[in-house]
Every structure is written in C-alpha cells, then in structure tokens.
C-alpha cells in the first residue's frame, strides 16, 4: 500500500446484487429467492461495472487519496481491476452478500475515517447505508438499480466519480445538500403497487454549475434558496387558514422560520402560526379536516417534490392520501421546490400517484411551483 498518511479517505461499497431483478423484469432485488431467480434467468451483476465507471474518473487522482472498501465483489475486485491498492476492511461469509454486509461496511468505513462514501446500488442499498451511518458524513450513490426513487444518487455513475474528484480537490463547485432516502416496499412493487415511504435524509455532495462570468451574477446556495422559498410561503400565509406542512427539508425551513417543531418525515399542522398537530397520519388528518370544517376554517397543503422521480404526492407523503386531497382541493395545494430540483427533472412532468384515478386527474395539469421569494415556475403535473 502506498504511503498516504494524512491523505483523504474515500469509501467504496458495491452492492453486487443491486439491479439484478430489474434487468430480468423482476422489479427490484430484495430477497434471496428473487436474486437466485434473477441469476437463473441470466441476470448479470451490473453494479460492479457501474462502480467501475465512477472509479475510472478518479484513477488519475488515486495517489491523492486512500480508497477504503470491502472484500471481493463489494468493491475490492472493481478497485484492483482499475489499478487501485485499496485498504480492504471487514470480511464476508462466502460469496453471497446481504444487506447487513452493506450496513457493516458503511459503519466500518466511517470508523476508519472515511470522509466520503461512494456506494453503488439502488433504493435498498441507500437505506442500508443510512441505517448504519445516518447523516453523519457525506455519501454519494452510484446508480445501479433499475428505477431509483432515492435522491442520494448521482444521475450517472460517471457523474458520481466527477463529483468525488471535485470533492477531493475541495472545489467551490461542490456543495453539500440533504437528499431523500426512500423506502420502497419491493414486495408491493412486484404486485404493481408502489409504496414508498420517506425514510430519511443523507448528506450528498453535488456539483453546481457556476458561471465564470460577472454577467451571470451570483448563485444562491441550496440552503439560501430553501430559506427564500420558506420566506415566500410564510409571508403569504393567511390568518385562519390551516396549513398542513408536508415532509422534506425544503418545507422544514417554513417551520424553522415560524419557530415551530417540525417532523422532517411527517405531516404537521399549523394554524395562525401555532402548531396544532404533529406527525399526523391519514386518519389524524381526516379528523383535523373535520374539525376545521366545523370551525369553518379553510385548509391548505404545502408540499415539496420528494425523491429523484418528481413525485408530489404518493411517494414519501402517503398520509396526504386521496381522501385528504379530495377534501382539500387542488386550488389549496401549495408546491415548493428549488429550481435545481425542478431542472433536474429534465422536462419530465411532476407526478402524482394517490391511488385514486379521479384524484390523480384532479391534481393534474399546470401548477405554479414556488422556487424562491416571489419566484414561481409554471409546471405540469401528470399521473
């Protein structure tokens, strides 16, 4: 191993089974029997190849950092094939890897002093990394799953590598932001039903497109933009209107400004700047709507775009069900998201999946999404 005392340490975790199921039409790879079935159907482990695409970008910088990884297909093999001499942590029992291996790897890497962990996988892998290390250090996903809802992944494997390069260089083009980890119930997904819970937030580095020209002016940071969005929402808040505050970091800033306790992953209720309900589930929300109706108080919903696929309803905020939304009405839905999140959709519409076609239909069409103080974007919602 080359002497790299004091050098930065980057962790690499590969979930070799990620995406296996999807390639053979099995929607997800959770569960040993699914993996076996996938291999029997001719699936090839693609995650190591995806990880290699990211690692290739770091090859010319490999003297500048120490790569920490796990044995065999969990990273070591890919790293060695590209000429790295990684520090291999942990050990595996046999060839088959388990979610627990991912969790153990993430914890070991944090304990060994990793500053950034790259992990190749899908929604399940992100969940495992989150279980082990939460939000304690920056991580970045190398997308290897088939359809990833968690927003902790770079858009392509190569871009994950590029971000790591800039992170190593301490470039000002890199900023940190919190991104969603989603919990997809794959069993339900295989039955053509998507159940996605907002599981938590991890810190990810992301590359900002800065202009090297005075003509472009300054660009606000993600955090400033969220504060700007929240300031807009708070200034527009009306008296005697009940606000249901959806989950997410963008909306959390609203509660920060109001000085109210926020449930990051749940729905709170605010009336006249006071908290009247915390972490309400669907029935709690229905009860609240009944009460507000009795008091003749109008209700509005404030939500953000959750995850990387552009969902406004139906992913990570199931409490705001079709029963709730039907009663609130489209005209009382306030949507906020940072401009960068909207642009990352690449022109694809925002999505709703409430489980009720009539409500989906009602929510569809053009909306004005708040992107900062006094700035909105006209955008289409589809289902």
């Amino acid at each position: 191993m080359p002497e790299t005392k004091g050098a930065k340490k980057i962790g690499l975790i590969v979930n070799p089974l990620a995406g296996i199921g999807g390639r053979v039409g099995l929607k997800g790879s959770d569960g040993r029997d699914i993996v076996e079935k996938a291999f029997a159907m001719g699936a090839v482990a693609e995650a190591p190849m995806k990880a290699a695409k990211a690692l290739e970008r770091l090859v010319s910088k490999k003297e500048q950092f120490q790569l920490l990884t796990y044995p065999g297909l969990m990273g070591e093999k890919t790293a060695r094939e590209l000429g790295y001499e990684p520090v291999v942590l942990g050990c595996l029992k046999g060839d088959a890897t388990t979610p627990e291996d991912t969790e153990k790897a993430a914890a070991d890497m944090r304990n060994a002093g990793a500053e950034l962990i790259l992990f190749a996988g899908g929604d399940g892998t992100a969940r495992n990394v989150y279980n082990a290390i939460g939000n304690s250090l920056p991580v970045l996903g190398i997308p290897a799953g088939v359809k990833i809802h968690s927003a902790v992944y770079a858009d392509t494997p190569a871009h994950a590598g590029d971000a790591a390069v800039l992170y190593l260089a301490g470039s000002g083009r890199i900023q940190l932001k919190e991104a969603e980890v989603m919990d997809i119930d794959e069993e339900a997904f295989r039955n053509d039903r998507v159940s996605a819970r907002l599981y938590g937030y991890m810190t990810v580095p992301y590359v900002r497109n800065l202009m090297q020209s005075a003509k472009a002016g300054s660009i606000s940071s993600e955090k400033d933009t969220m504060m700007s969005i929240a300031s807009h929402i708070v200034t527009q808040m009306e008296r005697d209107v009940c606000y249901l505050i959806g989950p997410g970091t963008t909306i959390r800033a609203v509660m920060d400004i109001l000085g109210l306790k926020n449930t990051l992953l749940g729905v709170d209720a605010v009336l006249n700047q006071e908290l009247i309900g915390s972490d309400l589930n669907e029935s709690g929300l229905i009860d609240l709507l009944d009460e507000m109706d009795n008091r003749n108080v109008r209700t509005k919903v404030i939500v953000t775009v959750i995850g990387g696929q552009g969902y406004v309803f139906g992913r990570g905020n199931q409490q705001l069900s079709h029963r709730v939304l039907r009663r609130v009405g489209k005209e009382n839905i306030i949507i906020a998201a940072t401009e960068s999140k909207m642009i990352a959709l690449g022109g694809k519409p925002l999505l709703v999946d409430t489980g009720d076609t009539a409500v989906n239909e009602q929510m569809s069409g053009y909306v004005k999404v708040i992107t900062s103080m006094n700035r909105q974007m006209a955008y289409r919602i589809a289902y």
Binding site: K215, N374, A378, Y379
Partner: protein
C-alpha cells in the same frame, strides 16, 4: 471540416503586482512647477486658495510612482489580455459582438461631443438633440413602436424601465393591487425575471415544451386577473425562433396584461420582423449589441426602450421633441414613471448607433440580419459534425442568429466539461466562449453567435479550434483539465469565490481589509 491551420499563440505572462503595491517613496509622476515669482507674490501660496474645509488633513494613500512605470504597468496588464481587436468574439452568444467601427470612436472623442455639458441650454445642444431625435425615428421604423427613451444605461436597465412602466400602467388603471404577476421564460435573459421582481412583482417562469418553445399551454393555464404582463425574448437563448409569438401576446392581452419583447439582441430579425406587428406593447434594443456600439468591458451601454402610442406618456422625462424648427427637451410629463438615469443617457452609444444605421441603410440592416443567420447556420453544420457536440430541442429545425449546444456527451465520456474546454479554447488565440445564462437547462452548454462581421475563414477557424479541444478531451482529458496552457493568466482555481461577496474586493482598501 476544412483543413484549418490552428495558430500558435501564447500571451505574455508578467508577474505583475497591483499598482497600489508599486513605487518607491519619493518617486513622482508629475512635479508641478512652482508659480512664477510675480504670481506667487500677488496670490500667495496656491494651496491657500483652497477653502480650509475642502483640504485633506492627511495625504492620500496613493502609490508613489513615475509616469513611465505606470505606463509599463498597464501595458503589461494589457499584454496579458487578448484585447478587443485581436480575438474572435464568435463564441459570445447572446452578446451580439460585432465589429465596432473605429471611426465612431473618433466622432465621440472629438470636442464637438466630448466637450458638451448636459446642463447647457437646449438651444446650444441642437446637434446632439438632432441625433437623439433622429435615432428615435429610425428605431421607431425598425420596431414599429411610437416613442423611445435612451435613458437606460444598459439592457437590464431598459427591462427595469419596462417593469416600472407596467407598474405605472396598472396603477393608473387602479388595478395594481391585484395585478402583481409578471411572466417570463427560462430561456429569456435572466433580467426579464429579475427586473420585474425588483419592481415589486411576483415572477412566474415558463419552461420549454418538447419543441423548445415556451410552453403555451402553461401560459394559458396561469394567466389570470393577477397577470400584469409578460417579458421575454424571441428567439430565446436557444436561437429557436417562435413563429407563434403573436399567440402568446394574445393570451396575455386577453388577460389584461402588457407584453414586452426583450430585443437586446435583435441581430437575426432587424429589418425582417417588428415587435409592434407581433402585437407587443413595448420592446428594447441594446445599442451596444445590435447597433454596433462596443460593450462588455469595451464601452458603455445604452438600452433604447420603446413603447406603443398610448404608453408614450409614461416614458421617463425629459423626452427630446422637435417643433419643426428646433429640438427641445420636454419635462412636462405628469404621468411619466420619472427619471431612470441622469440627463439623456449614454449619448456616445446613441451617436454610434445613429452612425451605424446611417451607414448601413435600410437594406444594409436587413442584409446584416440575413448574413448573421446564414453565418450561424454555416457554423451550425460544422459544429454538429464534431463528435460529442449536440444541440438539444427542435431537432432538424434551423436556428436564427445563435444556438445553444451541449457538450454533455463529452463530459459523460471523458469527465471534461464545457468549463474546461472553454479554458483550453483560449489557447488558440480566440476568446473563451460564453456558456449559458443561469440556470443551466442544457447540460455543459456553449452558445456561439457569429454576427455578420465574421468571414467564412473566421467561422472555419472557430469550429476547428473547438473540434481540436473536443478531440483532446477524448484523447487526453487531463491535458484539457489543466488548461489553459498558453495564457498569462491561469484558470480560477476556486470559482465559488465569484459568488461570495464577503470575499470580493472591488477596491484596494477592501482588499486589505478582507485579506487580513
């Protein structure tokens, strides 16, 4: 691609200190002679002529430096830049960088203009007022509008003037309290959103549809009794001309809003299509773009802002009028939005634009537009033949005078993005290109605009230089990553500095304070 010989170039590299750090104690640029004995006897010490309250107590903290050292200093600095007349500005899309005739500099530097004072009585300013009035007549014909002001000191200042006028219009109708939304598009210049926001409006941005036009259905869905107006460009930054622009205007008019056409860059349509004919209520031209006055760091700017007849009363005071025998300034404008700048604006730009229009003539202006579009489409063919260069939106549709391309495929394959290729580009003795306004919708963008100035050889050279940079990115990405290699100034290592006012220093005093 034609076989083009790329020039070998290297800028001078001087390890030059700041001028404030130069000189030695006692070194002087000018030592004024002492007054003649008789004068001194009669008037005493010249310094005593200064009132006590106007005298400095301490001497200024200026470098002590001789004239020729100052001259050398600035010559060294100038050698490290490419300079206005050496490079090729083809890459500066949306900026409309064209040749600015040197003759115009002589005119504005002559004492006939340079020695005028804006507070002279109008009777003694007849010449310049005639030129102001004359340019207004030409721009009225080019735009179809009825009245212009040249007060705004730049394009964004003109759009701000427009936002103020929209506000005044609705205020006069008693609707300002409810009409608080101005619409713009994501591919318009950012000032079309920023200036109405500064004027107190909420701003709604339209995104492009799959053809690259602003989403018309979105516009129809969001207009309401809150709509104060729309401010946008056509073609937008993408260079795609929207033939249905009159429909957008109708939607906003039907909702009770005003429509503003940002024509900062009118190079592709001047003499071909008019804002008024498409139904717009107002428009503006950057005299320092389309009408040849130099800009960027090369000259002052002027935004010529024009409106249709019924809005003329709101324009800033004074306006320049002609009573058949003399020109005069009209301050009696009770409904005006007020002044947006002192006096009449940057009149050197007005003179240059006037001279340019006079020398081009109506047909010449039209021909310039046609050549700029032809140049762009020739360059487009060359660029789209370069591996890794793509041009998102409206595939197969021609662009007008500029186009936004993407190097996203190059980035994906090599890790080399547009910022790095741009750094390498300058090694070939041409200006680094303009990437994109913010936000970047097109990944890894670049936006050339080959105005009518440029010859076929210029276009071939530009495309060949880009092809070489992209080829190097595929073959030796590290080499491009570490560019530029032939410039006296190397690249900015931490580009986040540019967005942190706490780390900016616009003066030496601020630099000393902040670098502590």
């Amino acid at each position: 691609m034609k076989d083009v010989r790329l020039r070998k170039y290297h800028s001078a590299a001087w390890d030059e200190p700041l001028v404030m750090e130069m000189g030695t104690k006692g070194e002087r640029g000018i030592i004024p002679p002492k007054a003649a004995k008789e004068v001194a006897e009669k008037l005493g010490d010249a310094l005593d002529l200064l009132p006590a309250g106007m005298r400095r107590e301490k001497s200024m903290n200026l470098p002590e430096i001789s004239q020729y050292h100052v001259l050398q200093h600035y010559l060294r600095l100038s050698q490290m830049t490419l300079g206005m007349d050496l490079g090729s500005d083809i890459g500066e899309g949306t900026c409309t960088m064209k040749y600015s005739p040197k003759m115009h500099e002589q005119v504005v530097n002559s004492s006939k203009f340079a020695d005028l004072h804006p507070k002279q009585p109008a009777e003694t300013l007849q010449g310049i007022l005639e030129i102001v009035y004359g340019l207004e007549q030409y721009l009225k014909q080019i735009s179809g509008m009825s009245k212009f002001t040249f007060q705004p000191g730049g394009g964004s200042h003109a759009t701000y003037t427009n936002a103020c006028l929209i506000r005044k219009y609705h205020e006069a109708r008693g609707e300002l309290a409810t009409r608080d939304e101005v619409i713009t598009t994501i591919f318009s210049h950012p000032c079309d959103g920023a200036t109405p926001a500064t004027a107190g409006f909420k701003v709604i941005t339209l995104m492009p549809d799959e053809n690259g036009y602003p989403d018309l259905e979105a516009l129809k869905a969001i207009v309401s009794e809150r709509t104060a107006g729309i401010m946008f460009t056509n073609p937008e930054d993408t260079g795609i001309f929207n033939p249905k622009v009159a429909e957008y205007v109708k939607v906003v008019h039907d909702a009770g809003g005003l429509c503003f056409y940002d024509q900062a860059n009118a190079n592709g349509i001047m003499g071909m299509a008019r804002a008024f004919d498409a139904g717009f209520d107002a428009c503006h031209f950057n005299l320092h773009k389309t009408f040849s006055s130099p800009h960027g760091c090369e000259g002052p700017a002027a935004g010529a802002y024009g409106v249709r007849e019924e809005l003329g009363k709101y324009l800033p005071a004074p306006t320049v009028e002609f009573d058949g025998t003399r020109y005069y300034l009209d301050y009696d404008r009770p409904e005006s939005i007020g002044k947006v700048r002192s006096f009449l604006g940057n009149l050197e730009c007005v003179i240059k634009a006037y001279a340019w229009i006079r020398s081009m003539g109506a047909e010449g202006i039209k021909t310039a537009a046609q050549i700029s579009v032809l140049n762009n489409n020739y360059l487009d063919k060359l660029l789209l033949n370069i591996k890794g260069v793509t041009r998102p939106y409206a595939e197969g549709k021609r662009r007008l005078e500029q186009a936004r391309y993407s190097l996203g495929d190059v980035k994906e394959a090599t890790g080399v993005g547009t910022a790095e290729i741009r750094n390498r580009f300058s090694d070939f003795g041409i200006q680094g290109y303009w990437m994109s306004h913010h936000p970047w919708i097109v990944p890894e963008p670049f936006t050339p605009e080959p105005c009518e100035t440029y010859s076929r050889e210029d276009l071939d050279y530009w495309a060949a230089a880009l092809e070489q940079c992209v080829k190097e990115a595929y073959e030796d990405p590290e080499f491009v990553m570490n560019a530029p290699h032939a410039m006296g100034n190397t690249k900015i290592l931490d580009d986040s500095l540019a967005e942190d006012p706490d780390r900016w220093a616009c003066t030496y005093r601020a630099y000393k304070k902040k670098s502590k």
